[in-house]
């Protein structure tokens, strides 16, 4: 697979691991006193575990799994709203597969489907659009979920629906943005991060400069990284190099995909369709200013929040999270998944309590699936 397998070369990975080890020794990083590097993106968490990088890397480098999984940071109340819309007679509710198993208070979308709601997994919002064209008598709602990577796809789909005059297509917008929660994390006095691996596919849309504040205001290195194993290791090396050199800069390891200033078409579509909400709730992080998007009034005809009177702006935002769930602490790296009292007991991938156990990008699920599950239980 071109542009992918080349970056999975074992020899290159070994060389990177050696170089990382030398750099870590140089800094004086040890198991007891490690360098903490947060990979913001769940995709990176997934790669780390899939390739076993956490076990191969020098013990003085510790990965902190950040809040970059849009499914994991979704509060239960949002799932409840999805279920409510999906159970409305006449609705075809479409979603990415990731969101199907996330527990709401009453039920997950998977359970709602088993109860008779017409919920369909799609690969793309374009498929939802096509369903709307083919089912003129039904309202097709697409669950717009994801960071800046995914936001352009729903923006372009809404623009297309508007051009075609489709009146039975709407998006239930729960898109969120990456920089704001990072700013919030960095403001937390408990936080002991030494550097960041930046989400490459977000920067493919927004470029690398939205992270300037990390280096400039907080003095932390950040390297925007690709998702193959050598991409990740090279980025770790780049972070360590900055640490060793006492620098803090925004660097781009993933230049083959990430343009410095992002993608202008995507940015224009986002700006046309969406605007920032004053504030948005993140599971484990609470309310964060300007961290969520909503559909602009000019596209209200495609806004499921408007059509159904259900959603973030409708006042039903306070549903307490499950008790005993440490998702919040795990999300910001304060606890390892295995330190959550629910891990493997009340909370397993078959019957997840917290969202971190649901998405395969969630830290808990990744731990369970690829690494520590059975050790933790043994």
């Amino acid at each position: 697979m071109k542009f992918a397998s080349e970056f999975r070369d074992p020899a290159a990975a070994r060389a990177l691991l050696s170089a990382i080890a030398r750099k870590a020794d140089e800094i004086g990083a040890t198991r007891a006193n490690p360098v903490h590097i947060m990979e913001i993106c769940g995709g990176h968490t997934h790669s780390i575990f899939r390739y076993g990088l956490d076990k191969l890397i020098h013990e003085g480098v510790e990965f902190i799994h950040g809040p970059g999984c849009p499914v994991c940071v979704l509060p239960m109340a949002r799932v409840d709203e999805c279920v409510e819309i999906a159970e409305t007679p006449g609705v075809i509710f479409t979603t990415f597969g990731d969101a199907m198993r996330v527990p709401g208070h009453r039920k997950s979308l998977l359970q709602a489907k088993s109860g008779g709601a017409d919920i369909r997994m799609v690969y793309s919002p374009l498929d939802a659009l096509e369903l709307a064209r083919r089912n003129p008598g039904r309202e097709v709602v697409f669950f717009g979920l994801g960071f800046e990577t995914t936001t352009p796809s729903t923006a372009l789909s809404i623009q297309a629906a508007a051009r075609e005059g489709l009146n039975n297509f709407s998006v239930f917008c729960n898109h969120i943005t990456v920089p704001e929660p990072i700013r919030a994390l960095l403001g937390d006095p408990d936080m002991m991060l030494d550097g960041f691996i930046g989400p490459g596919h977000v920067s493919m849309v927004i470029g690398i400069h939205p992270y300037d504040f990390i280096a400039r205001d907080f003095g932390k290195p950040i390297v925007v990284a690709g998702f193959e194993p050598t991409d990740l290791l090279q980025s770790v090396l780049m972070v360590l190099t900055q640490v060793a050199e006492g620098r803090a800069a925004v660097e781009n390891q993933y230049a083959r995909v990430v343009p410095e200033h992002g993608n202008p078409v995507s940015l224009a579509a986002i700006a046309d369709v969406y605007e920032a909400r004053p504030s948005f709730e993140w599971r484990g992080l609470g309310e964060i200013d300007a961290s969520g998007l909503r559909i602009r009034p000019r596209y209200a005809a495609f806004d499921a929040e408007e059509k159904f009177g259900i959603g973030y702006a409708t006042g039903r935002r306070n549903v307490p999270e499950v008790e005993g769930c440490a998702c919040g602490a795990v999300m910001i790296g304060k606890l390892k998944p295995t330190q959550c009292p629910q891990f493997g007991n009340g909370c397993t991938p078959e019957m997840p309590l917290g969202a971190l156990m649901v998405s395969s990008e969630g830290a808990c699920a990744a731990y369970w699936q690829y690494a520590g599950a059975r050790e933790a239980m043994a």
Partner: protein, 340 residues
């Protein structure tokens, strides 16, 4: 001749003449001549040998679409049960076939499915000796479901099974993984993907016979169907009380299957197969076993993919290309296409 309908109606399930016509024309005409009674009466010398045992298994087959590149639900229904008999060391003898047909199902489709079954049964050297048809209302079925049960004979002295697996055994598969699952995902059409793949669906009795000859100490074999290789290995490791370690670099995967998995965020180890065995044998017999499989149809891609370890019992891991290891757990729920 009596059957002039083009689609199945509720009348075809009513127990009367319309049903009789459907059965006579579509079903029994292609299967073995039906006995006069609603039960087959059978015997085989091998079954009466002292020490011989009877093997008995069943599976229901549900698949969308009913016809797909490389097979149809009829092929699956024969191969699946033949393979479940064969992997236990049984020589498959007789099959039953029960059909649950949705009102509105095209009769021409039924004929094609039944023809596939007859052809596949002939290939496997088994007879379909008894059957049943039911018709359910539209919206209460999905075209057609088929349940087959199979009876075979295990020769005296032969005892394959997970509990015979030893630490140090070699893990072998008979070919590339995930073709069936990937083919079905694409054939369903709702993800709008197209790919030139065929289901691996095949009867594997001949491979098992060859394996038993080539590896006299064959421990166990299993067909990797729903839940893929990963789920089969997890069950086997747990039953055997060993660990299994796979070598990522040895896993046989077609580029198209890898591509589909990368696109949808799936793991090919969990994709269904319908013509793939995983076999366990002592290391000194592994070479001969692989060679024997490779000489036969559906065994050309046979290879060693890993080994068993003494502990931890029940644990399956994958050693990656650069030495990392990850757990290969059982499939959790369904594999859902992952996007973000």
């Amino acid at each position: 001749m009596a059957l002039r309908d083009t689609h199945v109606t509720m009348a075809h399930g009513g127990g009367g003449r319309a049903m009789r016509d459907l059965i006579d024309e579509v079903f029994t005409s292609v299967f073995q001549p039906p006995g006069m009674e609603d039960q087959a009466r059978l015997m085989e010398a091998s079954l009466q040998q002292p020490g011989a045992r009877l093997a008995f298994t069943t599976d229901s087959f549900v698949v969308t679409p009913l016809e797909f590149p490389g097979g149809d639900i009829g092929t699956l229904a024969i191969c699946g049960t033949v393979n479940d008999l064969a992997v236990g060391g049984a020589r498959p003898l007789w099959l039953s076939a029960a059909f649950i047909i949705e009102e509105g199902c095209e009769i021409a489709l039924l004929r094609r499915i039944v023809a596939s079954m007859a052809a596949e049964a002939a290939r496997a050297g088994i007879r379909i000796v008894t059957g049943d048809t039911k018709v359910v209302e539209r919206g209460k079925g999905d075209g057609v479901f088929i349940t087959t049960a199979g009876v075979g004979v295990i020769p005296p002295g032969l005892d394959l099974g997970a509990r015979h697996i030893q630490p140090g055994d070699v893990v072998i598969v008979n070919g590339v993984l995930g073709d069936h699952g990937a083919t079905i995902l694409a054939a369903r059409g709702d993800l709008a993907l197209s790919v030139d793949l065929n289901s691996d669906c095949a009867g594997l009795g001949h491979l098992m016979q060859a394996a038993l000859t080539a590896a006299p100490d064959l421990r166990a074999a299993r067909d990797c169907t729903r839940g893929g290789l990963a789920s089969a290995l997890n069950e086997l490791a747990a039953e055997a009380g060993v660990a299994i370690e796979l070598d990522e670099t040895r896993l046989p995967l077609r580029p198209e299957v890898v591509g589909l998995c990368e696109l949808l965020g799936l793991d090919p180890l969990y994709l269904a197969n319908e013509g793939r065995l995983v076999l366990f044998c002592p290391p000194d017999q592994a070479g001969g076993l692989v060679a024997a499989l490779r000489s036969l149809p559906h065994g050309e891609g046979a290879c060693i993919i890993g080994k068993t370890l003494p502990a931890p019992a029940g644990r399956v891991t994958l050693r990656t290309a650069f030495g990392g290891a990850r757990l290969v757990d059982m499939l959790i729920g369904e594999q859902l296409p992952r996007i973000c």
